[in-house]
């Protein structure tokens, strides 16, 4: 069994899939991340991250319908699973907890 640890990039990809809910496929995820984070992302990195997420059971996929824009080719649509949602919430929760534990005096 592979560990369920979520890497930083995987987390970003997972968030992007969640944002694009219903229309999350490779290129869409790339664009989403580039727009949101203002950083350039490789398609291959995204695809292998999606693969890994699928392996960990955090996303599922199905083949979507054809679109004219893609020259009649199908796209694979990803969606976040319940486990994926839990993983994201967990991360958020931990981050929040850590933020809360920072003593006020630190920044001053």
């Amino acid at each position: 069994m592979k560990g369920t640890y979520l890497g930083e990039f995987e987390e970003v990809v997972l968030l992007a899939v969640a944002i694009r809910s219903g229309d999350a496929y490779g290129a869409a995820v790339v664009t989403e991340i580039e727009q949101q984070m203002n950083r350039s992302v490789n398609l291959g990195a995204v695809h292998s991250a999606l693969n890994r997420l699928a392996e960990k059971g955090l996303v599922t996929s199905e083949l979507g319908g054809m679109t004219a824009e893609r020259g009649g080719r199908r796209k694979r649509l990803y969606s976040v699973t319940a486990a994926g949602r839990r993983a994201l919430q967990e991360i958020r929760h931990v981050r929040n907890q850590m933020w809360d534990s920072i003593p006020n005096t630190v920044w001053s």
Binding site: A27, V30, L43, R70, R73, R74
Partner: protein, 871 residues
């Protein structure tokens, strides 16, 4: 800017469509956003970034393209094992043959492994074993260079003071010999050493009580735990006074842990100061008498070879004796004592290491035989499994998965065999220890034992499973399922059985070689046993004198013993009839080449000795009490006459120690040392100024039974010498002991040979039953058409017998060559006769025939109705 062909080549067909469209979509977006040039650049970067292992075509994981849950690795392996188990249970007889064969092979390999480990770790109990050495002497003599371990006492001091930078310790010690050790009324005969004070440090004795410096006090003794226990029970032994050899009263200053079985000093059960032996201090400085072993430990930065060169001439410079000019000292490292202890012409010629090699090779081969069985049976059954492989492949199994499947079958069989062989080894080990004269144990709690065992099993599994796994998984589904050939069955091909035949030939080659070897070893032993020994062993017993009481009262003891009527005669000598304890190389005679020295065994006897042992006088006459002049005469044995080259030896004068000795007569050769070696040239004398008596020989009255005689003997000895326990040895038993090493090797080799042929026949049995089953319809048809049972048996057996015959042809020269080498080690040896080969060949073919015919007769006797009904 079409990248599709490359993508198609690189990626899974399902992925290509998606990736290509992604690339296109991004490109179009980017053209609008950042212009064509930059978009192209990004397109290229993206395309390149896709080339990563997780997306490539040959990655077998295709999980997201079906809806089945992706099994993880462990579930897959569990599935492999489950299927392997089902296959195992379904084919019970094949599985049994495989498991029994493999577990026998693994048992042999494991036992040999334990044995070899024990041999290789010999002496490792002593902490500094890699820096300890014994000083040996090479002496150039008439009959070649001889190597001696007995050296004069002052040499120890000389080494110590001359080379303080090289030696950490130099310790002179007696070789262990039996002594009476007594505390109050408890008396035991135990083997112990007299040694210099640093002996315990050198040997790193583990002290239980007292310290290693306990020997520094001249009247002290260190006891081993078991001797201390025997003498004192649970009482504290320290400072108690014990008596050794009825002579020396010493105080116990320490108790050390018993030395292990695999140490050269295992029988040193007590250590006493060597100074006890020198009643007058002058003796400690006697360069002429060589009767001590000298052990050394080097300092960390000295090397054995360098020090050997330095000390080479030390002896020559100190000994006044001119004959010592031919001697050279050298160091023999402790790590070589056990396995490399034979010196031929002054050069190390191996020793037990040859047996270690021999047994290792046998172990590997026996294991290999078992692996071959597994391979043969698996591939022989390939027709049966061909369909399975075809279907599996057709529904999507990949070759790697099939290989995994077949390997898990072999690993399962090996795992079961391993468990079984562990049990076998555990059960057999006590008997094995007895045969091999070892104290081997299973190192259950040692992690290394398990790591090694598991590694060994994996190795076996890989060897046994590799060929079937690769062979069976290579079938092409289309050929397998469509079927070829007249029978509409998958035809494996004309040459498919060739490797199998080669393997069978290999198995029988090994078996036949082992059998021939075993027969020759036993014949060699028998030959030496039947060698004429030149004296009469019957009713001859010897008693070691280790107390002074008897020495002064010989005549009284003799008269008293003769008076009991159970003793026919009694004599004394300086060494037992089964050994020569002293030698001289400074004899001079007429016609001797002055530049060469010759070594003779020297034995002091009483005039009755000859009659007691029943030697034969060839020329001249025997010693007699009537002529006082006999005290300056020699008897020579035939070998000694030959060595001197004297034509008419009787009456010749031999000079020795400044005295003229007249040759009184010639004794027929007696085998007193190794029965495998030429008889040692020996001189006998009756002048007790030259040697001391050590052994009493008694010839029992043949009309009295041994059981009756011994108590009477004991009574006499007890009366004269109440301090000593009465201990005797039969000459014939002592003689038999000389064959112990050879017989041990012979017994072990024969057991392995039997197991090897057993495993080979097991394989043959499986193969023949398989063949018979395959041809069951053919046999039915043949019978219906009138074939007789012998016809069919010969039809089925012929091929196998041919293989065994070929194996015999291959094995014969191999066996001849190795056994010729083996026999070279013995001077008194047999010639290799042709009939041994013929016999073994007949035996092998006979056994193979028996094995095969069981199945063929069964097949031939079967009613054709049953086999033909189904079609």
């Amino acid at each position: 800017m079409k990248i599709t062909p490359l993508l198609r080549w690189l990626f899974h067909p399902d992925l290509v469509e998606e990736l290509e469209s992604d690339l296109d979509e991004l490109f179009q977006q980017r053209v609008k956003l950042m212009g064509l040039r930059k978009a192209r650049w990004r397109y290229l970067k993206d395309a390149l970034s896709l080339v990563r292992p997780s997306l490539l075509k040959w990655k077998p994981v295709v999980y997201q393209y079906n809806n089945y849950p992706q099994p993880t690795n462990t579930t897959m392996i569990r599935n492999y094992v489950k299927i392997a188990w089902r296959n195992l249970v379904r084919n019970k007889s094949y599985s049994a043959i495989n498991i029994v064969g493999l577990s026998v092979g693994m048992t042999v390999a494991m036992l040999i492994g334990l044995w070899v480990y024990d041999e290789l770790s010999f002496n490792s109990y002593h902490q500094n074993h890699d820096r300890i050495a014994q000083v040996l002497e090479n002496e150039t003599l008439e009959n070649g260079v001889q190597t001696f371990s007995s050296l004069p006492m002052p040499l120890s001091q000389e080494l110590r003071t001359k080379y303080p930078n090289d030696f950490k310790y130099v310790v002179a010690s007696t070789a262990g010999f039996e002594q009476i050790i007594a505390y109050q009324d408890k008396k035991f005969t135990k083997t112990g050493n007299y040694a210099e004070a640093e002996f315990p440090d050198l040997m790193t004795l583990k002290m239980i009580k007292g310290t290693r410096s306990g020997l520094k006090d001249p009247n002290s003794v260190l006891l081993s735990e078991s001797v201390a226990k025997a003498l004192f029970g649970d009482a504290d032994p320290l400072q108690k006074a014990v008596k050794i050899g009825n002579k020396y009263t010493v105080q116990v200053t320490g108790v050390y842990e018993d030395l292990p079985h695999n140490s050269a000093f295992t029988d040193v059960t007590f250590v006493a100061p060597i100074d006890l032996l020198f009643e007058n201090k002058e003796d400690r400085n006697n360069w002429r008498s060589s009767s001590f072993d000298i052990f050394t430990q080097l300092n960390p930065n000295s090397r054995f070879d360098d020090v050997s060169v330095k000390i080479k001439d030390l002896f020559r410079k100190n000994a006044e004796d001119e004959n010592r000019t031919r001697s050279a000292l050298f160091l023999h490292p402790m790590n070589q004592w056990h396995l490399y202890s034979t010196f031929e012409n002054g050069v190390n010629a191996g020793g037990r290491i040859q047996f270690v090699w021999l047994f290792s090779i046998i172990g590997v081969f026996v294991l290999l035989l078992a692996c071959i069985n597994f391979m043969n049976l698996s591939t022989a059954r390939s027709q049966k499994r061909a369909k399975e492989v075809g279907i599996r492949k057709a529904i999507g199994s990949q070759r790697g998965q099939l290989i995994g499947q077949f390997f898990s079958e072999s690993f399962l069989v090996v795992a079961l065999s391993f468990g079984l062989s562990l049990a076998f080894v555990w059960f057999i080990l006590p008997y094995f220890n007895e045969v091999a004269d070892k104290q081997l144990v299973m190192h259950w709690t040692d992690a290394r034992f398990w790591i090694f065992s598991i590694g060994f099993s994996l190795f076996t599994g890989i060897v046994a499973g590799s060929y079937p796994a690769l062979y069976l998984s290579s079938f092409q589904p289309i050929k397998v399922l469509k079927g070829h050939g007249p029978s509409l069955r998958f035809n494996i091909g004309r040459f498919a059985s060739i490797p199998r035949k080669v393997l069978v030939v290999m198995q029988f080659t090994v078996s036949v070689t082992l059998i021939i070897g075993t027969i020759i070893v036993f014949r060699q032993i028998q030959f030496a046993k039947n060698r004429p020994i030149g004296y009469s062993r019957e009713g001859l017993i010897n008693i070691t004198m280790n107390t002074p009481e008897i020495q002064g009262n010989y005549d009284a003891v003799r008269n008293e013993l003769l008076a009991t009527g159970v003793v026919a005669d009694m004599g004394e000598s300086s060494s037992p009839i089964t050994g020569i304890w002293s030698s001289a190389n400074n004899l001079d005679w007429r016609g001797k080449d002055p530049n060469r020295a010759a070594s003779f065994g020297t034995i002091l006897v009483t005039p009755d000795f000859g009659k007691v042992v029943g030697w034969k006088i060839k020329e001249g006459r025997e010693f007699s009490r009537q002529f006082t002049s006999d005290s300056s005469t020699f008897l020579l044995n035939e070998a000694a006459v030959k060595l001197t080259g004297l034509k008419n030896p009787v009456g010749e004068i031999i000079k020795w120690h400044g005295k003229n000795w007249k040759v009184l007569g010639v004794v027929k050769d007696m085998v007193m040392t190794s029965p495998f070696e030429p008889v040692t040239p020996t001189v006998f004398m009756i002048d007790s100024k030259e040697r001391g008596f050590n052994i009493i020989h008694i010839k029992l009255n043949p009309t009295v039974s041994v059981r009756e005689a011994l108590p009477k003997l004991e009574a006499v000895f007890k009366k004269i010498n109440p301090a000593a326990p009465f201990e005797y040895r039969f000459a014939d038993q002592e003689y038999t002991k000389k064959f112990a090493a050879e017989e041990r090797i012979g017994t072990l080799a024969s057991i392995f040979a039997i197991l090897a042929i057993f495993i080979s026949c097991l394989g043959l049995f499986g193969l023949s039953s398989f063949m018979a089953e395959q041809r069951i319809k053919e046999i039915g048809v043949r019978k219906v058409l009138g074939a007789t049972v012998p016809n069919i048996v010969s039809l089925l057996s012929r091929d196998f017998l041919l293989l065994v015959f070929i194996a015999f042809l291959v094995a014969s020269p191999v066996a001849w060559y190795t056994m010729d080498k083996f026999l070279q080690a013995y001077k008194y040896r047999i010639a290799i006769e042709w009939w041994v080969f013929a016999l073994t060949g007949a035996l092998a073919i006979g056994i193979a025939l028996l094995t095969v015919s069981f199945q063929s007769i069964k097949a031939a006797l079967m009613n054709p109705v049953t086999s033909l009904r189904s079609e």
